[in-house]
């Protein structure tokens, strides 16, 4: 499991850094363009998704008390966090887009 997590970790790092580079380029381009930023705030409440993530975290922790293999869920999900941050850069829209 250690080797698997290390390899996935390296791949996730590369994905994260690619996203970071994209985000940095976007930020600089937007700053230089000085185009006005829209002020609208979408009406999404996200209540269902938030509740689902709270429940999921509780289930994962409880799972570590039922199966030794669930102990590795923590490290694997930590890699999901890094990948999620990288993905967020690719999910963002440039101003005016």
């Amino acid at each position: 499991m250690y080797m698997i997590i290390t390899i996935i970790g390296i791949l996730v790092t590369l994905f994260f850094l690619a996203g970071f580079w994209r985000g940095l380029q976007n930020a600089i381009a937007e700053y230089r363009s000085a185009a006005p930023e829209p002020t609208d705030v979408p009406d999404y409440g996200y209540g269902g998704l938030a509740a689902a993530s709270v429940i999921a975290s509780a289930v994962i922790i409880a799972g570590a008390g039922f199966s030794p293999s669930m102990i590795y869920a923590g490290p694997l999900l930590a890699l999901v966090t890094a990948a999620g941050c990288g993905l967020a850069f690719f999910a963002e829209r440039k101003s005016g887009a």
């Binding site: 970790g9 850094l17 930020a27 930023e37 999404y44 996200y46 570590a64 850069f89």
Partner: protein, 496 residues
């Protein structure tokens, strides 16, 4: 399980400790200088990043500022102390607290698009009441200073445990490293270094925890069996004593720590308006795995029957002790140090950036409105240094880590409901707001001190909330939140 496996690593010299701290500081400084050159021209850029922080940097930086030394080390410590129940009560409210910002963030960003600080909102919400505004400003400054010093303390615990460096020296070196790079770029620096720190926290944490389990004969199964054999309750999340002992208190405290914290409000007004809601959703959800991952080190401590005396008496040090004494290679130990340093640095620079916004908007522009842009820019940057120096002096006085955390949370809890109601309930008025906070501190804090954390926290929340409700029902006037759209930008960017 035989705990003779734990032995000090002679290669972990103080020199290596200093190199780790200074190395991360220099890396951040280089990035900070680039950020300053490319993205920061004035106070507006420095304290609010021109309101252009995108989705990616928003998510990365919110996770980073929320990943305190607390999340990294206390997750292991609470698991070690209470088993999986400790991890459950530590983790579940933690991510929820970030997502709880969503409705408040959306309302204020929508109704007060040109805002900077939560204290500024209170100023306009309560007819420029000096008392209400001063209470919130002081609370924010107090919270920020505590945020800095708690994380400084975290840095010193790790560095002294792993490298044997004097904790006072580690504190001073740590704050110098952060302040030097925070000084240059303000919020943009904090956002970018924080995002990179999220990478430096997550991937190394996953690798190190997996390596620890790979090092243990029998791996996760052996730990699972030994922890269960030590006490079956270690593998349950349903221990009522964990909930009563710290869980419920911490849950309220964590909510207060986000909703009553300018570090988060600064982000609310700095992130692009269309991304505000989903940034806090993603950040809260993606935060969860970090303490879950590091909490698994606590089970190792239980399985081996480690006693607090084995690692200096402070249970916060259980994670650093396991990683640095279980026989991992030097690189892996340094990776773990990087995790904690990254967590500490990112939270401190986030807090410093928040302090700069409070100083610029809630102090200088409010009390000295004629201050020129150039002077404001200098004062704002100097406030970053001042906050760090004050926090360092307090840390060097030798306060206890856990007591400090709980006291901070208790104080912030007194402002939680009045602040929430002032955003959500139009009938909230100044008398209820100020009275609620004052009564919660005057009556609730003595209860907290005498009756314990659980009853004390519940009392503080109840007293503050009821006072606001009663005063609002008696007062009877509705406040039009939409009127805040007329609030102009206090520190608008000067014309080119």
């Amino acid at each position: 399980m035989d705990k003779s496996i734990f032995a000090a690593m002679p290669s972990l010299t103080p020199t290596l400790g200093y190199a780790s701290m200074i190395g991360l500081g220099l890396f951040s400084l280089a990035l900070s200088y680039a950020v300053k050159t490319l993205l920061v021209r004035n106070t507006h850029d420095f304290i609010i990043a021109d309101r252009r922080v995108g989705f990616g940097f928003g998510v990365g930086s919110v996770i980073a500022v929320w990943t305190w030394a607390m999340a990294v080390m206390m997750s292991s410590a609470m698991t070690y102390q209470w088993g999986l129940s400790g991890l459950f009560w530590f983790v579940v409210p933690n991510g929820f607290a970030v997502m709880a910002m969503i409705p408040f963030a959306r309302i204020l960003r929508k109704n007060m698009p040109e805002g900077y600080t939560i204290s500024e909102f209170i100023e306009y919400r309560f007819g420029r009441s000096k008392v209400a505004t001063a209470i919130v400003t002081v609370t924010m400054i107090f919270g920020i200073i505590l945020e800095i010093l708690i994380n400084l303390k975290g840095t010193s615990v790790v560095v002294s445990t792993v490298f044997g460096i004097d904790w006072k020296v580690a504190t001073v070196v740590g704050i110098i490293c952060v302040l030097v790079y925070s000084y240059f770029g303000g919020l943009w620096t904090s956002v970018m270094t924080g995002t990179l720190n999220t990478l430096m926290i997550t991937v190394p944490a996953a690798i190190v925890v997996a390596a620890v389990y790979a090092q243990i004969p029998g791996g996760s199964e052996a730990v699972f069996n030994a922890a269960g054999a030590a006490d079956a309750r270690n593998l349950s999340v349903l221990r009522p004593d964990a909930a009563a002992g710290f869980g419920i208190t911490l849950a309220f405290g964590l909510l207060a720590a986000t909703v009553s914290d300018q570090t988060f409000w600064q982000k609310v007004w700095a992130i692009k308006s269309r991304d505000v809601g989903r940034v806090f959703l993603w950040s809260g959800a993606l935060f969860y795995p970090i303490p879950i991952c590091l909490g698994m080190l606590g089970l190792v401590g239980i399985a081996y029957g480690l006693k607090p005396a084995d690692f200096g008496g402070d249970i916060v040090a259980v994670g650093p002790y396991i990683v640095s004494h279980i026989g991992l290679g030097l690189t892996l130990v340094l990776l773990y140090v990087l995790v904690i340093l990254a967590a500490c640095y990112s939270t401190i620079d986030g807090a410093s950036a928040a302090l700069s916004s409070v100083v610029a908007v809630d102090i200088v522009k409010r009390y000295f409105p004629q201050t020129s842009e150039s002077s404001l820019f200098v004062i704002t940057k100097l406030s970053v240094l001042l906050g760090g120096i004050v926090a360092t002096l307090i840390v060097l006085s030798g306060l206890d880590f856990t007591t400090l955390v709980l006291t901070t949370y208790a104080l912030k809890t007194s402002i939680l409901l009045p602040l929430v109601l002032s955003i959500l309930w139009p009938k909230t008025n100044m008398v209820g707001f100020v009275g609620g906070i004052a009564l919660a501190i005057a009556v609730g804090m003595p209860i907290y001190a005498t009756a314990g954390e659980l009853i004390g926290t519940l009392s503080i929340v109840a007293i503050s909330g009821l006072t606001v409700l009663i005063a609002g029902l008696i007062g009877g006037k509705d406040f039009d939140l939409g009127g805040l759209r007329r609030v102009t930008d206090e520190v608008s960017a000067p014309a080119e």
